[in-house]
Every structure is written in C-alpha cells, then in structure tokens.
C-alpha cells in the first residue's frame, strides 16, 4: 500500500490545484478483477482509484479500465451526471491499469434510496434525473469511442439462454419467457452507447441533490437504448419499493425526462420487453452463481442460497407474461 501511495504522489497536482501528495489511502473493496481505493490529496480533495490488480486476468464481459474512463469522460462531455475522471494510468506503469476520479458524496445502497426518510424529498424527482442522464449517455457519438461490443435484444437473449441451457435446469417459466422474448425481439436500428448496468445500486444519490453520479461502467456496450431503461425497471432492483423505476419512480417520469432531454421516442412496450429480459437475465445470473457452489468453486452458503433467488425472477416473469397476454 505504501508503494501505491508513493506511485500516486506524482499525480497529485493533476488531481487538485496546489496538491503535492496523496494521503490516507485505504482499500474499499476488491474482487479478482477490480480494486477500489479511497484517498485524499494533501489539499483535502476526496478521490477514488479504480485499479486492475497486477495479478488480474480480466473478467468476462468487463471493458478495460481505460475504456471505462474514456466513456465516463465522453458522457460528461454530453452533460451526463457522472464522476469527474481526473487521471488515467497505463497498464505498464507503477500504479498499473487504473484511473482516478473525484469521490462523490451520497448513497448507493438501493434499499436506502428507495425507502429511507433522508431521501424522501428528492425521491419524486429521481426517475426524471435518471431519464435525463440516460439521454446524455445515449447521445454520446459512437465514432471515436474505444472498441465496444454491439449487442441486440436477440444476442442478449441468446447469451442468457445459453447460460440457462448450460445449467441443466428445466424451468417452464424460463422456457416461456425465452420463447416470448424470442418471438418479439425488437431489431437494433441505430446502436447507441448503453451503460449496461444502469440500476438502483449503481447510481450515487445525495439526500439533497438527488442523482450525483452514474457509476459502474464496466458492462458498457453499444445497443438498444431501451436496455438501460428496462434494467433500472427490472423488479429485482426495486428493493421493496412499489414504483417501477428503481422502486422510486414511474415509467412516465423516466421516459418524459428522456424525451425532454433530446432522447429519441421509446415506447413503454419496448421498455417492458427489456424489463422482462432483465428479469430473465438476473434469474440466469442467480443460476450461474449457484453453479459456482455446485461445482465446488465457492462453497459458501451465500452462493448456494442465491440459487433460490431465481424463483423471485420467475414470479416477476409470470406477472409480466400475464400483463402481456
């Protein structure tokens, strides 16, 4: 950690005017592919470092950190509410593949945002703020962006169908959802920059300002703008809230603000399509996590029990199928 603190020191002047060093470096979280560190400059400016650990092999769908940083900068240029990226670091440097951004103040825990009293006053405006942020993200010119995969409703569906088939599970509700979604897959006309993990839990929310930053860009890709809308409306991310957008807002709040901010016309039907695909996707992800237990790769009770959360997505899928029938 001392080495990392030392390696960060030369960046200090770039992070805050008058800064000469960095202090108070501490690890916040980290998995196999990603570390998050917090620190301050000696002038007191709060920072976040996202870094790929030197030993990391890279994880499946995640974009490189340099891409993440470039996308956040590009979204900021379009006026999206995102963290300020202040410095990037190359893979062969002492710090390694990483970037530094200004640390935001607020809450990311979905349950608190949806239910806790401090967020009562900003909650009614939050879905509109999300719609406005998405309009800016989706308006980023795709020429000149780092390489990103393009995926349509059908390619996303096929990806998760393969996960389900590979699990060996036989679940009629998943079969019905797959069939329904396959028969109605919308075509991808003009792919836009899609955040890819836009949901309650990945947005930073301040009790007075509301949305202050869209976080967690590692699943960004080119695709259907309604994918981001469907994902934040997916019932698994409502945290007990009664409203469809992240548990805190109505569809119209999200869509009207999106259009008002220059986003293209998107039908509620298309959002509901992606919402159903979102439930299927999370259900398949629960199965994947359970399979880590079944294979012996992760023997924790948490990995075992998450398999039972696939049934939550099934009840949501049935509700959506009934609504569509």
């Amino acid at each position: 950690m001392d080495d990392l603190q030392q390696a960060l020191t030369p960046l200090a002047p770039q992070l805050d005017a008058g800064a000469t060093t960095v202090v108070n470096l501490r690890r916040l979280s980290g998995g196999a592919s990603q570390e998050t560190w917090a620190f301050e400059t000696d002038t007191g400016a709060p920072m976040i470092l996202r870094r790929k650990p030197p030993s990391a092999t890279g994880s499946g769908n995640a974009v490189p950190l340099a891409t993440e940083a470039a996308l956040i900068r590009a979204a900021a240029a379009k006026g999206a509410i995102v963290p300020r990226v202040l410095a990037e670091s190359a893979p062969d440097s002492e710090i390694g593949e990483a970037y530094v951004m200004a640390r935001l103040e607020g809450e990311t825990l979905g349950k608190r945002i949806t239910r806790d009293p401090p967020f009562e006053t900003i909650r009614p405006g939050l879905a509109a703020q999300c719609g406005k942020a998405l309009a800016a993200i989706h308006a980023v010119p795709t020429e000149g962006l780092p390489p990103l995969v393009t995926s349509s409703a059908l390619t996303e569906l096929e990806k998760y169908e393969a996960v389900y088939r590979g699990s060996g599970a036989e679940r009629p509700i998943f079969e019905a959802a797959i069939r329904f979604l396959r028969d109605r897959a919308p075509s991808l006309e003009t792919p836009v920059l899609v955040h890819g993990d836009f949901r309650n839990g990945n947005i930073m929310v301040h009790p007075e300002q509301g949305l202050v930053g869209v976080l967690d860009w590692e699943l960004a890709h080119l695709g259907d703008p309604a994918e981001d809308m469907g994902w934040i409306c997916t019932r698994s991310w409502r945290f007990g809230g009664t409203k469809p957008v992240g548990g805190f807002g109505d569809y119209a709040d999200l869509l009207d603000a999106y259009h008002a901010a220059g986003g293209r016309e998107i039908s509620l039907e298309r959002v509901l399509y992606w919402e159903m695909l979102g439930s299927l996707k999370w259900g398949c992800m629960c199965l994947t996590m359970y399979m880590a237990y079944a294979s012996g790769a992760d023997a924790s009770v948490e990995r075992a029990m998450i398999g039972r959360r696939a049934s939550e997505t099934e009840i949501d899928l049935v509700a959506l199928l009934e609504q569509a029938a």
């Binding site: 036989e170 679940r171 009629p172 509700i173 079969e175 019905a176 959802a177 797959i178 069939r179 329904f180 028969d183 019932r235 409502r238 007990g240 809230g241 009664t242 924790s300 009770v301 948490e302 075992a304 029990m305 039972r308 959360r309 049934s311 939550e312 099934e314 009840i315 949501d316 049935v318 509700a319 199928l321 009934e322 569509a324 029938a325």
Partner: protein
C-alpha cells in the same frame, strides 16, 4: 419417522442457536453469511411443511395440461419441451394459470417477503 425431535424442531433449534449465540460473535462477511444461513434454514423449514403438497398440485395441473399421467420430473421435462418448441404458447391462459400457481407456491417457500409475491398473489 422419529418425532422426538421433529425435523422442524431441529431446524428451529439451529436457527435459534445461530441467531442468539453464534451470529453476535461474527462480523463482516461471516455475519452476513450467518444471516443467509438462517434464511436457508427457514426455507428448508417451509419446504418440509409445504413442498410435497406444492409438488403434488403441480403434477396434477401438468397431468391436466398435457392430457396424460406421469411423474413430476417426466411431465416437467415434457412441458419445457413443448414451450420451447412452440407447441404451447407462452401466453396460453391454461399454461399461465399453471405457472402462476407454481411460482406462488415456490416463492412462498424460498422468499416469502419478496414484494413480487404480493404483486402476483395479492
């Protein structure tokens, strides 16, 4: 079957031990896993109490839907195949009625607090 104690009583005693004695000694990830363990035991308890009745009801509905007898696993495989191949539409009212009843029973076992249960089951 031995009933001194019943399996339900055994599970309840383990839940009580984890919640009252073990969990308070744990922190961070272990404390979280202790909570998950209690949830898992509670689901097992509900499955022991209601799982068989739910499976029997599911089998009876599949017999009606598919028009012939069979055990749960065989019927379930056949139903999955017929939906996959398009022989039964995913919006067929009789299919949806079966899926709805089955998922309500399953979520009552797995996650009875889930908000989606209230949405669908009322």
């Amino acid at each position: 079957m031995i009933t001194q104690p019943t399996s339900i009583e055994l599970i309840e005693s383990v839940i009580k031990f984890i919640e009252e004695r073990a969990a308070p000694q744990l922190k961070d990830r272990d404390a979280f896993h202790a909570r998950v363990a209690v949830n898992a035991l509670a689901a097992i308890k509900r499955e022991i109490a209601g799982g068989q009745a739910a499976e029997d009801a599911q089998t009876a509905r599949m017999v009606a839907l598919l028009g012939h007898d069979g055990d749960w696993a065989t019927l379930n495989t056949e139903l999955c195949g017929k939906i996959r191949d398009g022989e039964i539409s995913p919006t067929d009212p009789a299919l949806l009625a079966h899926l709805k009843a089955s998922t309500i029973d399953q979520v009552r076992i797995d996650q009875p607090q889930y908000a989606g249960l209230k949405t669908l089951a009322g």
